[in-house]
C-alpha cells in the first residue's frame, strides 16, 4: 500500500469517527413532503412561462384536481437559444500577456508559449499530452537558452502546488460550463455588447481566491467579466480584476476558436533543433 493510500485511509477513519454522531432528523420524510408541496406551488405560479420545459413529476403524484401534476422543474429551464458548442470541435488559442496556449480538447494536447519581456522573442515552448494511464507526457524547448527536454509524469501535481486558478470554483471558460452557470445563476447576464465587431453576451461573476496556509492565508477578491458568443457560448474575451492591498490589477485573455484543420494542428508538431542541448536526463 502506498504512502498516499495509508494517509488517505487514516483520514477516512478519522472522518468516519468525527461524523459518527451525525444523524438526520427522524421526521425527514415528512419534511420532504412539506418541501415538495411548497416547491410545487411555486412552480405552479410560474407555469405559464415554463410550459415549454415541462417535466412530469414521477413520484410525488398529486391526488387532487389541482392541475399541478405536470408542473415543470425550475432547474430544467433552458436559457440557451441552441445547444452550446463542443470544445472538441475546435482548436482553442488563448492569449494573455506574454503567454499563448493552444488546447486541442479532442486529443488532450496542449502547447504553451511564453515570450520574453519584450513580448516579441519566443522564450519557452511546452507541449503536453495525456497518457493512457492518466499521466502526462511533455516536451519543452527553451529557445533563448537553446536546450530541450522531454519526460513523463504519472502524478503531475504531486510535490508542487499549482498556481491559484482564477476560475477555481467558477465555471471554466468553455461553453458547457458557461451554459450551466447561466442556468443556475452563477453568472449574472449583463447584456449584449459588441466586441471586435462581433455580437457577444457579457457575463459577470465575483469570487475570492485564498492564497497561503495557516496564519498566512490571504483572500483576494476577484471579478470576472467574460464575453461569449450568444448562440454557442464560446468565450471570446475575459477580464479578471483582482484587488490586492487596495490595488487593482487586471488580466485580459483573448480566446480564438480555430478549426481543427490539419494545418492548424501542426502547432503541436515541434521538433527541437539538432544543435540544442538535450537535458532530458
Amino acid at each position: 500500500m502506498s504512502d498516499d493510500d495509508q494517509f488517505g485511509r487514516r483520514l477516512g477513519t478519522l472522518l468516519r469517527d468525527e461524523v459518527s454522531d451525525v444523524h438526520p432528523a427522524p421526521d425527514l420524510a415528512r419534511r420532504l413532503r412539506g418541501r415538495a408541496k411548497r416547491k410545487r406551488l411555486a412552480v405552479g405560479a410560474g407555469a405559464a412561462v415554463l410550459t415549454a420545459t415541462v417535466a412530469a413529476v414521477g413520484l410525488l403524484v398529486p391526488t387532487g384536481p389541482d392541475g399541478l401534476h405536470t408542473g415543470p422543474g425550475p432547474d430544467q429551464v433552458a436559457v440557451s437559444p441552441q445547444a452550446p458548442a463542443r470544445t472538441t470541435d475546435y482548436l482553442l488559442l488563448e492569449r494573455s500577456g506574454r503567454r499563448a496556449v493552444w488546447t486541442d480538447a479532442a486529443t488532450g494536447r496542449s502547447r504553451e508559449d511564453l515570450y520574453a519581456d519584450d513580448g516579441k522573442r519566443l522564450s519557452w515552448t511546452t507541449i503536453t499530452k495525456d497518457d493512457a494511464d492518466g499521466g502526462r507526457r511533455w516536451l519543452e524547448v527553451q529557445w533563448l537558452l537553446r536546450w530541450w527536454a522531454e519526460g513523463y509524469t504519472a502524478t503531475p501535481w504531486l510535490g508542487r502546488m499549482p498556481p491559484p486558478d482564477p476560475f477555481e470554483n467558477l465555471p471554466a471558460p468553455e461553453p458547457q460550463s458557461i451554459s450551466r452557470a447561466i442556468t443556475d445563476g452563477t453568472f449574472e447576464v449583463v447584456g449584449n455588447e459588441t466586441v471586435d465587431g462581433r455580437d457577444t453576451l457579457r457575463l459577470h461573476a465575483e469570487t475570492t481566491v485564498t492564497y497561503g496556509s495557516g496564519r498566512n492565508v490571504r483572500s483576494i477578491p476577484k471579478k470576472l467579466e467574460i464575453w461569449v458568443d450568444p448562440h454557442t457560448y464560446l468565450p471570446c474575451r475575459s477580464i479578471i480584476t483582482s484587488t490586492y492591498d487596495n490595488r487593482e490589477s487586471t488580466q485580459t485573455t483573448a480566446y480564438t476558436w480555430l478549426e481543427r484543420t490539419k494545418e492548424n494542428l501542426t502547432v503541436f508538431d515541434v521538433t527541437p533543433p539538432a544543435d540544442f542541448d538535450d537535458k532530458s536526463r
Partner: protein, 173 residues
Amino acid sequence: MRVDPTFEAFVERESTALLRIAYLLTNDRGHAEDLLQVALLRTARRWASARDSPEAYVRKILLNLSRDRVRWLMRRVRERPLAPSHDGVAAIASHDHRVTERRQVLEALAQLPVRQRQVVVLRYFEDRSVEQTSELLDMPPGTVKSYTSRALARLRELLADNDSTNLARAHHE
C-alpha cells in the same frame, strides 16, 4: 399527495450516510441537511428513472449541489465566510487529543477546493475505487488520481501547521 413507499424506504436506509457526506462536503450541519433534502427531493421527482440505482443517482445530485453551494457562498463572501477561520482550529479546547485531531482533519478538509474535497470524501470516507469515484464525479480516472494527489498533498501541508496532529507528524517523518 402520496409518496412511493420504495422511496420512503430508500430515505430510511440511506439518509444517514448521505447526511454525513453532505456534512463533510459543507462543514456545516444546517447546510448539510438542506443539501440532503434538496437532493432527495430531486431524486423523488425522478424516481421512475432513479429507482434502479438510487444510491448513485442521489450522490451525483448531492455532489453537484455541493459545488453550486460553494459558488453561491463565494459570490457572497463578504456576507458569509466560506469556512471557519483557520485560527479556530487552535482554539478548540479539548482534553481528548483524538477529538482535536479529528476536528483538525475536518477543518483541513473544508479548506480544500470543492473538487478535491469531493474526491477525498468519496475515495477515503466512502472507500470507493478510482473508477467508482470517476463515474460519480463524471471525470476521467486520471483526473480523479490527480485531484487525489493534490488533495492529499494539501492536507499534509494544512495538518503540518498543527503540531498536535499525529497524522501529519507520522507522515512527515
